[in-house]
Subunit: 325 residues, 2 copies
């Protein structure tokens, strides 16, 4: 069997075996890949589960993302949803569909990305099962699981007037990376490769999810569609208004200023409306001691006419929609 063999040449079973052989073993996996189903430990007596898709030409381009990048990003975008419930990621399943001329080497690179994503972002978690199929375009569906370790899940609906609003992780970097990749000239993307890296291999602060739960976060979600839109989700679920303090976003702007200037963009737009950083947005009681990963960027007030204010202005809840783009 050669690295240049395609999955059409070796078939699903052999291709799956080659892929599975490169995965790490999770601490929660009781029965791993290869049977009808996997068996995963859930000592809490409940488990957290979330699913998400990544589709070629909608969510990624194969000329920008390597197979390794895609595996890594698939882990990052899903364990961030587990973390946003205050849970510790334990196990994932991966359904992958690829054109039949995809090489075994590509699959192995994808598996290496899955493994690296687990090891870097959610140590102890692992891919425990999967499915491989043929399709005209690359399609990746990941389901991620987590354990609540006896804690209540942190929902979107618990924010209360008087709470502070805080974020763990970056804002706008993934959007900046995307804008750089989309820019007509390749040079800026090379100059700001650390932003492109966040787009291709997000680094969400997974451990901060459990820390926020332990610090009694009143609500939390992961920012997948942009600060404005996701803050609006907390506001609506909790029946409150979120008020962001523009001054407290200046640190996030600063990290993007040079890149924005280089391609004629506005860094604040990325911070407010850019998705895919998968940072954690949470609220805490005013007297809570925040984990040091979280930076305060605003507060919760009584529900008003709009869901999200920036200072005293309504903030439009635009951002990414996975159907309409």
């Amino acid at each position: 069997m050669q690295k240049t063999d395609t999955i059409a040449q070796i078939g699903e079973s052999a291709a799956l075996l080659r892929t599975i052989a490169r995965l790490n073993l999770g601490v929660s996996s009781i029965v791993g890949p290869g049977d009808d189903a996997a068996v995963v430990a859930s000592p809490d007596g409940r488990f957290v589960v979330t699913t998400d898709t990544m589709i070629e030409d909608h969510d990624f381009r194969l000329d920008w993302s390597s197979a390794f990048d895609l595996g890594y990003k698939a882990i990052a975008t899903n364990v961030s949803d587990v973390a946003a419930m205050g849970a510790k990621p334990t196990a994932l399943t991966v359904a992958l569909a690829v054109p039949s001329d995809t090489t075994v080497a590509w699959l192995e690179d994808f598996a290496d990305g899955l493994r690296a994503g687990c090891e870097a972002l959610a140590p102890g978690a692992a891919v425990v099962g999967g499915d491989l199929a043929g399709a005209p375009k690359v399609f990746i569906a990941i389901t991620a699981h987590g354990d609540l370790e006896g804690r209540d899940p942190v929902l979107r609906s618990g924010a209360k007037p008087g709470d502070v609003l805080a974020v763990a992780g970056t804002l706008g970097r993934a959007a900046a990376g995307l804008a750089l990749l989309q820019f007509e000239d390749a040079e800026p993307a090379a100059a700001f490769d650390e932003l492109v890296d966040v787009q291709l291999r997000p680094q969400p602060p997974i451990a901060a999810g459990v820390l926020a739960a332990k610090a009694d976060a009143t609500s939390m979600l992961d920012i997948s569609d942009g600060l404005a839109k996701d803050a609006g989700r907390i506001a609506k679920a909790s029946g409150v208004t979120v008020q962001i303090d523009s001054k407290l976003l200046q640190g996030f702007d600063a990290a993007l200023e040079q890149a924005a200037m280089r391609i004629g963009a506005r860094e604040r737009d990325w911070v407010l409306f850019g998705g895919e950083d998968h940072s954690l947005l949470a609220t805490f009681a005013a007297d809570a001691i925040l984990p040091r990963e979280f930076k305060v960027i605003g507060r919760i007030i009584e529900a008003g006419d709009v869901s999200v204010l920036i200072d005293d202005e309504a903030l439009p809840e635009r951002g990414w929609d996975s159907v309409t783009g």
Copy 2:
């Protein structure tokens, strides 16, 4: 909002809400759809998890399957993998990607199929979360979960020489249904619509999985790729040879004889090599009392030169491969 509205017109969030509103509530669901993740009860302290994909033009055709059919089949093909571990299905997540001109009515019909599949095949189980995205073709990825209720999982690897081989459910009906749909003339498909129905909305014997586990089945899997190929999987995982008794397949043949004659096919080929019935194939100790859903079709012998025998002849392990077809 109209039924003829497309998801491009109303966006992901609104379309998801419309879909979710039609789902049933599961008895194991603690936090349902709408947050970053769902929370599901797993009283056993472990959970079973399996994932599978269905891709337009590879696994189904939209001119044969309604959205309802696809939802129903997605449930059937996944809870059968949970049942094959001896577990009781509890919760599923669904990642759905569809062209942006898909109507809300289509999504609602799909959701109705999900609900009907859960209610008919796995009462108490429900879809607890999902994801909706845009894609050039319909792509469905389902992840199903189950609870072992304190029992050991039934793996593929436990068959021992002297065990009997038994099947719960139908053999070859889904393949017959597919052959009827593919036949040049539409009349036979109309005449044998009960076979077409098994192809479009499989009826796997889900409850028989738990019954087999309680009867100390030594190995089990669901027959997704055909009896020959899936019997070979038990043989290889267990280090034995499976010997099928051709006489004991005659009842399965009989149900297909008329349809096979009508389109010039061989019913025994469907029984041996036809996938997608998602029946359960299990082995039991010779003195076990089999649940009445199971019919003996052969036995397990010491590993020989071939994995699967039919009487004293080698049975080729051909069948369905989800990549090469």
